[in-house]
Each structure stands twice: as structure tokens, then as C-alpha cells.
Amino acid sequence: MRLVRDVLDKELFDREEEPMGRVDGLIMHVGKSSQPRITHIAIGGSTLWDRVHPFFGRLSRRMSRWWGPKRDDAVRIPWSRVITVGRDIKLDVEAKKTGAIDWELWIAHHIIERIPGSGDKEAGDGN
């Protein structure tokens, strides 16, 4: 498995097949005597924006302090929770409890659900 090609930027799903973002960063443990190894997957936060440019990272940290669900650190999922790595990556966690979809829930709760008709779209006809 190649980390950058097969893991980084892949989509993540929890055990209920709920999407929970993408692999925005990987956290590595470099021990004095042991081999370097991946310990965590990082989701969201300034991790992602730091990859573009530290400027965007700083901007993201500042923005999240000012607005939103007040989470500026990336969510870390231990590597041991990874079930499969394929087209997507499946994790043995529950998306809601990890904090990875805090933004989704925050926007749904604070904005979308306040607009009339947000919860009763005609069911898709399955095509």
C-alpha cells in the first residue's frame, strides 16, 4: 500500500456507511528506536489548509474561533480503527461521536433546518 496514493485524500465512511469527510492528513510516530509508523488519520480543521499554504491554515484557525462549532483541531482517528482500504476507507467508528461531522451537524442545525421545507423533500424515485 502506498500512503499518498492509496490513503491520503480518500473518502471516509463510518460503520453505518455514513460519509465522514476525507483523509486530510496522516499522523506519524517517529520513535528513536522503532520504525516510523502511521498512528492516526486526521480529518478537517486546519490540517487540510496547512497543506495548501500556512497562510490558509492560519486563516482557517482564525475563522473557526470566530464562527461555527468551535473546533479548530483536526479530528484524529486511530489507525487501528481502519477496517478496509479500497475505493474508500471504512472506519470502525460512529461518525457523529468522532466530531468529524460537527460542521455538517452545526450547519444543519443552525441554518438549514431553519429554512422551511428542509426536512420533507419528495422521496427520490430511485433512478
Binding site: 455514513e18 465522514m20 469527510g21 497543506r51 455538517e104 433546518e113 428542509s118 423533500k121 427520490g124
Partner: protein, 404 residues
């Protein structure tokens, strides 16, 4: 039987996606200024688009990835971010143009100026996304777009000289107004190959659960649908060449464009033009807003589907809501949508390599497509058209601006 239905719906959809304010305006201006001379650029743009749309569907059917997902995964977030910024800007300009096209159609029908329509029109487009399902948008909006067939009827009623139209299908070099000629040529390429169409199409293939059995259907839809769309644009150019060119009318305003079919179809021409533009721009506005929202949602791994209720994919819905609100602002300020159209089509041509070059790499990647990788023909055709139009755009746009 089901497959035949799917194919015909797909073709209708692609027509709806092809014909919008950009392709109609550029084709009309080309016909008005240069007669049949620029027909070849429509042919070239359409051929290139057929290849690109076929590729978008094939990528989705084989890899179960949309173009956007595959771009981020294959090239990483920093590169993806550049593509995102470029495509979002260009598509946003096109969205403003489409919303303006709806407003202008209503203006000529009712006499009430387009800035007044900015809010009702944006609200209607938003409501359609908020309450409607993907199937409704894909099939309903584009079914209405079939009224654009009136352009072909108008062209036939004017009895064009077929040998000189055929002549226009071969590239020629202009004698005078050279800068304007090449500017028009790249604008037509930009209007034909709209990247949002590819993003919308590949997301649609995922929404409709395509798999490898859809490869032949995809080929038929892309081929017939886009040819049909290109054919309609050619009809617009031909009518403009017969109506505006001899009178020396240079189409700068929508009010002038509205006269397109009044000689060919005296009784219904005016209304048919207004309705054609109304429906075509409405369908395109929906497709572009969704394409931009898909782009963000897929790139960041948010929940996305036009079939979910809004509270289930909040960030996706917030994105298209914000985009529609922002898109209404330039129109409220009274900025002429035709000017926005002309600028956005030329900019699309400049931005095309940003969208298409990484896409071509994906289409040749065995990890994504296995044995369904691109052949040499599609690679060559697309690469050549995109690179040439990029170079011509870089040269022609400054020349057009200084009025050379």
C-alpha cells in the same frame, strides 16, 4: 425498452445542458458578424465535447468516482484547490449570465426590466433544488428545453444556401476584423465545452448508479445528445447569418437577439425565442449551481445528493444556496448579462486546460479505468483542441480588448 427510454431521456438532458445563453449568444454574434464563416468552430467544439462527456460518464461508470473525487484523490488537495478556485470562479460567472438570461427573457415578454426579476428568478431556481429531486431536474427542466428545436425550424424556413454553409464547416482565415474573429472562435469553443457540464454529467452518473454495463449507453447519449445540441447551435448561427449579417446588425444586446426568429416565424418567432431562452437558461442555471455544489461537496467529502432532504446534506445545500444568493447580486445592480456572457465564455476557454489536462491524466490511469482507459484518438483530439484554444485565447483576448 427501459434502456431506450433512458437513452432518449439522456439525449434530451444533454440538449438542455448544451444550449444556454453562452452558446446562443456566441453563435448569434458569430453569425451576425461573420456569416457562416465560424461554423467550423461549433463543429470542432461539439466533437471535442462529445469525447469529454463520454469520458466523464465512463470514468463514473467504471471507477464509481466523479471527476472531482478522482481529481482530489489522484492529485492531492493543494492541486485540487487550484482547480476548485478556477472552476468555481468561471462557473459562477456563467451562472450570473444564465440567471440574467432568464431575467432578460422575462423582460422582453413582460416589459419589466431584468433587475426586477433577479430575486424571483433566483428564488425559483433555488426552490427547484431545495424541493426537487435529481430526476425531476434532469428530466423536467430539459424536457422544457425541447422548445429550442424552433431554432432548427427557423433555419429551415429561411432556406439557407447549403453549399455555403458546408463551406463554413471548413476553417478559413478572415480578411478583416482578425482579432474579433479569433476572439469569437475561442468564445464559441468556451461556450461549447463548458466544464460544468462534465461535472454535472459525471455526478449524475453516480446519482443514477451507473456501472460498467452503462458504457455503451453512455457512448450513445454523449454522441447523439451533444451532436443534437451542437446542431441546434449551428441553426442559431445560420439564422443569425441570414437575418442579422445582411442588415449589419451587430448583436450587443438581448433586445437585438430577440429579433432572431421574427422573420422566419412571423407569428410565433418572438415568443418561441423568449421561451427557448427562458427554459434553456433555467435548466443551465440549475445544472451550474448543482455542479458548483457537487464540486465543493465531493472535494471535501461532504454528504451530497440532490435526492436527499436538505437537512441530510446541509453543507451541500448551504453551498448552492449561497451561490444563488451571490449570483443574484450583479443582476440586481443592473450589470448587463450579455456582457457577462461574452467575458465568461472567453475566460472559460482560458481556464479549460486547468479542468481538462488533469482529467486526461485520470482517463489514462489504469487504477481508475483498468481496461477502459482512453484510446489514442480521444486523447489526441481533446489535447489538441484544448491547447490550441488556450493559446489562441491568450493571444486573442488582449487583442480584442485593445480593439486591434
Amino acid at each position: 425498452m427501459k434502456k431506450i427510454l433512458q437513452i432518449s431521456l439522456g439525449i434530451v438532458t444533454s440538449v438542455g445542458g448544451f444550449l444556454e445563453i453562452g452558446s446562443v449568444t456566441t453563435a448569434m454574434q458569430a453569425g451576425a458578424s461573420f456569416g457562416y464563416q465560424l461554423l467550423w468552430t461549433l463543429l470542432l467544439g461539439t466533437i471535442c465535447l462529445i469525447f469529454l462527456v463520454e469520458m466523464s460518464g465512463r470514468l463514473a461508470a467504471v471507477s464509481k468516482h466523479t471527476i472531482v473525487e478522482a481529481t482530489r484523490e489522484r492529485f492531492g488537495f493543494p492541486f485540487f484547490f487550484i482547480v476548485l478556485v478556477g472552476m468555481a470562479l468561471v462557473s459562477f460567472l456563467v451562472l450570473v449570465a444564465e440567471l440574467g438570461g432568464i431575467g432578460l427573457s422575462l423582460q422582453i415578454l413582460t416589459g419589466i426590466g431584468f433587475p426586477w426579476w433577479a430575486i424571483p428568478v433566483s428564488f425559483a431556481v433555488w426552490l427547484m433544488m431545495w424541493k426537487g429531486t435529481f430526476g425531476l431536474i434532469e428530466n423536467g427542466a430539459s424536457m422544457l428545453g425541447l422548445v429550442t428545436i424552433s431554432f432548427v425550424v427557423a433555419a429551415l424556413r429561411l432556406h439557407p444556401d447549403w453549399s455555403s454553409t458546408a463551406h463554413g464547416l471548413l476553417p478559413t482565415f478572415p480578411i478583416d476584423k482578425k482579432a474579433n474573429y479569433w476572439f469569437m472562435a475561442v468564445s464559441i469553443i468556451g461556450a461549447s465545452i463548458s466544464p460544468y457540464l462534465m461535472y454535472f454529467y459525471s455526478s449524475g452518473a453516480i446519482e443514477d448508479d451507473w456501472d460498467e454495463t452503462y458504457i455503451p449507453i453512455n457512448r450513445v447519449i454523449a454522441g447523439l445528445g451533444m451532436s443534437f445540441g451542437g446542431f441546434l447551435s449551428m441553426a442559431v448561427l445560420i439564422v443569425a447569418a441570414l437575418v442579422f449579417h445582411p442588415r449589419g446588425i451587430d448583436v450587443q444586446k438581448f433586445e437585438q437577439a430577440s429579433l432572431l426568429m421574427t422573420t422566419a416565424l412571423p407569428k410565433w418567432g418572438f415568443t418561441l425565442f423568449a421561451l427557448s431562452m427562458l427554459f434553456a437558461c433555467f435548466g443551465a442555471a440549475l445544472e451550474i449551481s448543482l455542479a458548483i455544489a457537487y464540486f465543493f461537496a465531493q472535494g471535501f467529502g461532504w454528504n451530497w445528493s440532490e435526492d436527499l432532504t436538505p437537512s441530510k446534506d446541509a453543507r451541500f445545500c448551504l453551498t448552492y444556496t449561497l451561490i444563488i444568493v451571490l449570483g443574484a447580486i450583479p443582476l440586481l445592480l443592473g450589470i448587463d448579462p450579455i456582457k457577462v456572457t461574452v467575458i465568461s465564455m472567453a475566460l472559460t476557454a482560458v481556464a479549460l486546460p486547468l479542468a481538462i489536462v488533469p482529467f486526461l491524466f485520470l482517463m489514462n490511469d489504469p487504477i481508475y479505468l483498468g481496461k477502459h482507459r482512453n484510446g489514442w484518438l480521444s486523447n489526441t483530439v481533446v489535447a489538441i483542441v484544448i491547447l490550441i484554444s488556450f493559446v489562441v485565447a491568450i493571444i486573442a483576448i488582449p487583442l480584442e480588448i485593445i480593439g486591434g
